[in-house]
């Protein structure tokens, strides 16, 4: 069977299973899972960047961009249809990434991480100053609809949409990572000089991963803006971006599904310890991260996704002579 069709088939199956699960779990859990999908989408984009050797500490910018653009569209144009809002948010995230990519895609390592973070903090600062869109308070996002139907209060409708989006995004990323272009991106992480001397542009490879990550972050931002019913500049704050990095590293880059699991665990740890041991949830997350690093150094996803053996460690670059 065509591997691309197989991937999408598996994704459809997975989506059905999770939609069925959604029918039996309590409403608070639906909400937590929906939010986890939002974070997981951003982390999935980071996984794509990580596979190409890039770590962004500023994905909050595209997450926030998607949330703001779709949220403003819902408020100002009265469009509340989720299909439209998600498409708009995704395009907004991807476009912002495309706009900044000429600036950032030629950098590597710590420079790339810091530059992306700086850009997200600039956006945070600017958004807190614009009173017309709520300044630092942000604004509320109207209740969503789907094809004219109001999405139910229990959150099942939104959850089902989130599951479908997650499955689609995971399938698209799987196909991309396993494709010729995906292999070239992993190769660029290993040896940029070699890639250039084979005739490929490392800059285009990075730009592509960066725009894809921006689009996914925009999707995640739209979903979470609608789920929370509110967006504010904190979406672009560096701690938000840091959390996405945390989720992505926990998931590892072997798998495209692990990030949704680690996003859910992160959310659960946060809400439970927030309830029972306030101020110490970061410590619990820290312990969780330690355990993963010690026992699953390639991330939680390496338990079920195997091709990581080819992409395990970044090599030390040798100089050309």
């Amino acid at each position: 069977m065509n591997p691309i069709l197989r991937t999408f088939g598996l994704a459809a199956l997975g989506a059905l299973v999770f939609i069925a699960i959604g029918l039996v779990v309590p409403a608070w859990f639906l909400f937590t899972m929906t939010k986890a999908v939002g974070f997981g989408l951003v982390a999935l984009g980071l996984v794509g960047l990580l596979r190409g050797g890039l770590l962004s500490f500023g994905q909050g910018l595209y997450y926030c961009g998607g949330a703001y653009v779709s949220g403003l569209m819902a408020n100002w144009a009265g469009v509340t249809d989720m299909i439209v809002l998600l498409s708009v948010g995704c395009i907004a995230g991807g476009l912002i990434a495309a706009l900044v990519s000429p600036l950032v895609a030629r950098y590597r390592g710590i420079f790339f991480a810091m530059l992306t973070m700086a850009l997200s903090m600039v956006a945070y600062g600017v958004l807190t100053k614009i009173a017309a869109i709520g300044g630092s308070d942000g604004f509320n996002v109207p209740k969503p609809t789907l094809l004219g139907y109001h999405l139910a209060e229990t959150g099942f409708g939104l959850y089902a949409i989130a599951v479908v989006i997650a499955a689609l995004a995971a399938a698209v990323c799987r196909v991309h990572f396993d494709s010729g272009l995906g292999l070239i991106a992993s190769a660029a992480r290993e040896n940029e000089l070699r890639i250039e001397y084979l005739g490929a542009s490392v800059f285009s490879v990075s730009t592509r991963s960066f725009i894809l990550a921006g689009g996914l972050a925009g999707l995640g931002g739209t979903l979470n803006g609608v789920a929370l019913g509110h967006v504010d500049p904190f979406f672009s704050y560096w701690t938000t971006s840091g959390e996405m990095v945390f989720i992505a590293i926990l998931g590892g880059y072997a798998s495209v599904t692990a990030v949704f699991g680690t996003a859910l665990v992160t959310e659960l740890v946060r809400s439970f310890s927030g309830q029972y041991f306030p101020e110490s949830w970061q410590m619990l997350l820290g312990i969780f991260l330690l355990l993963v690093i010690v026992f699953l150094p390639r991330g939680v996803g390496s338990m079920w996704a195997k091709p990581a053996k080819n992409h395990a460690i970044r090599s030390i670059k040798e100089p050309a002579t």
Binding site: G180, L181, L183, I184, R194, I195, Y197, L198
Partner: protein, 249 residues
């Protein structure tokens, strides 16, 4: 026109006060087997690096098939039909030889596509076939950073040949390779190029290799080409014996 596939005219390069390339002029015919010799620091690598776009020359021109490639970035020079291997192999270290070759074949093909999986039966067969041409099939599944020097050199060369360059430059293909392995390595490289009509330019310190595989030799000394002729002529040239091979008495 001369019919040369590669034309180098008046190439100059200085590093501060040091002149590493002083007015280099070379024409290379298709299917030529050209060896560059010279003592350490004579300017051989500088020449290779300027021709392949790794270094920008201060002056001069490089033409491939009549097309000016002088200041193009490496990837466009590669796409124009010029390939190179490296003195220190440039590989994707954590990947297997098969994956390294797959990467090279993807880029040499259409540059990779999202809609075509990297690992199909067809692509894997082609990669293994490529490894077989170099006698490397038994290393196929191990990460390249665990492989011996000679094997790494050959993978580096195999990757560079995926694009079937019309001019192929090798910087010291046999350095770091044991004496017994040198001839087999060169035999494999030359066999892989059989019937390709590529011109081959290789930097070499071992005169036995030079006389066996080259049909023309350029001797470098202090940034200049001091001899350019058939191997026997060049190796019997008194200046070459004095400054390059050290066989003058």
């Amino acid at each position: 026109m001369s019919g040369a596939v590669l034309e180098v005219k008046g190439l100059m390069k200085s590093f501060g006060a040091l002149v590493a390339a002083n007015n280099l002029n070379v024409e290379v015919m298709p299917a030529a087997r050209l060896s560059l010799i010279g003592s350490n620091g004579a300017g051989k690598t500088t020449f290779v690096n300027m021709v392949t776009g790794y270094l920008k020359p201060d002056a001069g021109q490089v033409k491939l098939d009549g097309k000016d490639i002088t200041r193009l970035p490496p990837r466009l020079i590669t796409r124009a039909g010029l390939g190179r291997s490296f003195q220190i192999p440039q590989l994707c270290e954590a990947m297997t030889p098969v994956d390294n070759i797959l990467v090279a074949l993807e880029i040499a093909g259409d540059g990779g596509s999202v809609f075509r999986p990297a690992r199909t039966k067809g692509s894997l067969d082609r990669a293994v076939e490529m490894l077989e041409r170099f006698g490397l099939e038994r290393y196929a599944g191990r990460p390249v950073n665990e492989l011996p020097g000679g094997v790494r050199k050959l993978i580096d060369i195999a990757m560079s040949l995926a694009s079937r360059p019309r001019v192929f430059l090798l910087d010291e293909p046999t350095s770091g390779v044991s004496t017994e392995e040198k001839f087999p390595l060169m035999d494999k490289v030359m066999a892989a190029l059989e019937g390709e009509r590529s011109a081959v330019i290789f930097v070499e310190h071992d005169m036995e290799i030079v006389t066996r595989y080259a049909d023309r030799v350029l001797a470098f000394y202090s940034g200049e080409i001091i001899a350019d002729d058939a191997p026997d002529e060049v190796l019997n040239d008194p200046a070459v014996q004095k400054y390059v091979t050290g066989t003058a008495r």
